[in-house]
């Protein structure tokens, strides 16, 4: 008699609860139903049409029968499950959905958590920059131009451009022959700020504060070479896309799609304070020097430029005033050492009188 269990039976036509005895057999479950007068009826449920309700508790099992109307059994003896598993293998009924196994098994959960988190990290660390670069490299030039022009107008609207010196600077840049004709515009901003940056689409902005610290044309050439390398490699575009992608990934977790818009806005503002990654900086340094060498300019210029800036940082750090250029272009000893190691013999470089005269007119003092 261990084969028979107490249960409540519902016929699917009314909600009245009838007492029943349930006996599992090989292909069927035999159900004996007692009505209120004590009369018995028998039902046979074939195994393949039985479904167990997923979240019925340990104390009460619910079996549903795929009939019209749908009948229902509420069984108060959980031992029926072990009986079924041991003797009859009603796999369809007792098998757990894989997601519920995951839900139940704590260790599996932890393992999955760890792998999901590490996958996430891996994706963020390697996958995202890779994808971001792919996207950036496949963006049409016109997109970059428009973006760059838009950012430039909004940034420079609050600045005063020195138009004469801008023309001179442009001539200087053109003379360097780094870029194809008419692809890059350079601007000189009247300001004490020690900074320079590049925008998508080929705009380079230099602040007078930085310009006045330079002593030789090769240093300016190095600066422009570095900035142009950023343009050449589309670093700003790539950096921005990587940034947005990061925000996007995070907002997926928190379910906030509005964050992408916020990210776009945040990025436009951050152009003054782009956090270029170290890789980008090193890339720009090296490419910049390459440009210089190709055009016969003394590439000691980069090392000197970096040293000037480093001194600047050291002398002004007591005033707690870090030149902006340095906060956005982290200066590490490595960069100076790197620049030094790439210096070629000065015999391959030649003096360029045109560059010298343009440079002289640039650093001519304007009275503030």
């Amino acid at each position: 008699m261990e084969n028979i269990f107490n249960a409540n039976y519902f016929d699917g036509i009314s909600s009245s609860k009838k007492n029943a005895l349930v006996e599992p057999r090989k292909e069927v479950i035999r159900i004996t139903i007692f009505d209120f007068e004590g009369h018995k009826t028998e039902r046979f449920w074939s195994i393949d049409k039985i479904e167990k309700e997923a979240y019925s508790s340990k104390e009460k099992l619910v079996f549903l029968y795929n009939s019209k109307p749908k009948e229902r059994l509420e069984i108060y003896s959980p031992e029926i499950i072990s009986l079924i598993n041991n003797n009859y293998h009603y796999n369809k009924i007792t098998k757990e959905h894989f997601s519920d196994s995951i839900a139940r098994k704590g260790s599996l959960l932890i393992l999955l958590l760890v792998s999901v988190v590490s996958l996430g990290f891996l994706f963020y660390w390697k996958g995202l920059p890779f994808l971001a670069d792919k996207v950036a490299n496949n963006l049409p030039d016109s997109f970059e131009q428009n973006m760059g022009n838009g950012i430039r107008s909004s940034l420079l609207s609050s600045e005063e451009i020195d138009t004469t010196k801008t023309n001179t600077l442009q001539l200087f840049f053109n003379e360097l022959n780094y870029a194809p004709k008419n692809t890059v515009s350079v601007y000189l901003v009247k300001s004490d700020v020690v900074n320079a940056f590049a925008l998508p689409g080929g705009t380079i902005v230099v602040y007078e504060g930085l310009l006045n610290k330079l002593t030789k044309p090769s240093q300016l050439a190095a600066l422009l070479g570095h900035e142009y390398a950023h343009v050449y490699y589309r670093h700003s575009m790539r950096g921005m896309i990587k940034n947005i992608a990061g925000v996007w990934l995070i907002s997926i977790y928190f379910g906030d799609s509005g964050g992408v818009i916020g990210g776009l806005i945040e990025n436009a503002n951050q152009f003054r304070q782009l956090t270029f990654s170290r890789e980008f900086e090193v890339e720009a340094d090296e490419k910049g020097m390459e440009f210089m060498t190709k055009n016969g300019i003394d590439n000691k210029g980069l090392k000197e430029l970096l040293q000037i800036l480093k001194e600047q940082q050291e002398t002004t750090s007591s005033n707690l005033e870090i030149p902006e250029f340095l906060s956005t272009h982290p200066l590490t000893e490595n960069r100076i050492k790197n620049a030094e190691s790439k210096i070629l013999n000065s015999s391959t470089s030649k003096e360029n009188p045109k560059l010298q005269s343009l440079f002289n007119s640039l650093i001519e003092e304007t009275v503030y």
């Binding site: 409540n8 519902f10 016929d11 699917g12 036509i13 009314s14 909600s15 009245s16 609860k17 309700e53 997923a54 979240y55 019925s56 508790s57 104390e59 009460k60 619910v62 549903l64 109307p69 749908k70 009948e71 229902r72 509420e74 108060y76 997601s99 519920d100 995951i102 839900a103 139940r104 959960l109 999955l112 958590l113 999901v116």
Partner: protein, 321 residues
């Protein structure tokens, strides 16, 4: 084993779920959804609803939910197509710089956007109720979509032109329509709340919340919940039985603290908060009167459209039944 009497003067709802089980479900839902890039979401939602339903009960039996991920998924696709189609049309029309086309697309989009709310609510109710049952007896929703759309738009219009003052009447009218069109086998429902009552409670409540620097907030929430539940009735064989809610302000406070904990733990405690909330609410709802839950009879055929449910999900509409 419980002793189950067939008649009592008060039926109590019960909830048997627990936080760690629910955590497991929500967590595996989240993982699978992320791994499948969102594809799994309809199935995840079904599991969540099923867990809450099948652990809620009255008179010794629990509710059942027979919705499937597949139905939900189909509905999801449909709603994405409708909404996405209107949106795509809007964008395409604007890119084409054709003014007439752009205006038409804007009107289509507004049309879809305005109608989506009532349609989603209607569809969700129809789907969810048709998939809900108790002891084999199915629930159903008999509301008519055209009637409801007209009602909904009319109520919104009145609320807008009265700058929100009509709001409580709108809430009550919509709630009444929906509730009284629900069916539970041979049983029906009544909602007797009045807009004026809700209005007074809301205005006084908000004033007091300001005066007491937020402390009154928990009593305010309790009052609103009780307003809705205590004015609801179930009608079987001509007799009306009232729902009652015995929740306290302290319960509301504890629930919100639990959710705060959820926030602090970066979401980890939220399943526990949700289970706690469901248990506290359910175990504070009673039906008074000698309602015999053995006397319900089957009435409805099921329908198979999951669109409404998926659409309301898209718009994050939460219906507190």
């Amino acid at each position: 084993m419980e002793i189950i009497p067939t008649q009592t003067s008060k039926h109590q709802l019960s909830f048997s779920g627990n936080g760690s089980e629910f955590f497991g479900i929500l967590f595996s839902n989240w993982i699978l959804t992320v791994l499948t890039l969102g594809f799994y979401y309809p199935w995840a939602k079904i599991k969540r609803i099923k867990y809450l339903y099948e652990n809620t009960g009255i008179d010794g039996s629990n509710f059942s939910f027979s919705g499937t991920g597949k139905e939900m998924f189909r509905g999801f696709i449909k709603s994405v197509l409708i909404f996405g189609g209107a949106y795509a049309f809007l964008i395409a029309a604007n890119i084409s710089h054709n003014i007439t086309l752009a205006i038409i697309s804007l009107l289509v989009f507004l049309f879809v956007f305005v109608l989506i709310f009532p349609m989603a609510i209607h569809g969700t109710l129809k789907y969810r109720l048709s998939r809900s049952s108790f002891r084999g007896i199915n629930f159903a929703y008999k509301g008519n979509i055209r009637t409801f759309i007209k009602l909904y738009l009319g109520q919104i219009f009145l609320t807008i032109i009265t700058l929100g003052i009509y709001g409580p009447w709108m809430q009550v009218n919509l709630r009444k329509y929906i509730f009284e069109n629900a069916r539970f086998g041979s049983a029906q429902f009544k909602f007797e709340g009045k807009g004026s009552e809700l209005f007074t409670k809301s205005v006084l409540g908000i004033l007091l919340v300001y005066i007491t620097v937020f402390i009154y907030f928990y009593w305010y929430v309790k009052n609103i919940i009780q307003f809705y539940i205590n004015n609801s009735k179930i009608v079987l064989d001509g007799t009306e039985y009232s729902f009652e809610c015995s929740i306290s302000a302290g319960d509301i406070f504890r629930i919100s603290m639990f959710y705060l904990l959820g926030l602090i733990t970066l979401g980890l405690a939220i399943p526990f908060a949700m289970v706690y909330q469901t248990r506290v609410i359910m175990e504070n709802i009673q039906i008074s009167g000698e309602l015999d839950l053995n006397k319900l009879t089957q009435a409805e055929e099921t329908i198979s459209d999951g669109t409404g449910e998926a659409m309301s999900d898209l718009l994050d509409i939460d219906l507190m039944f």
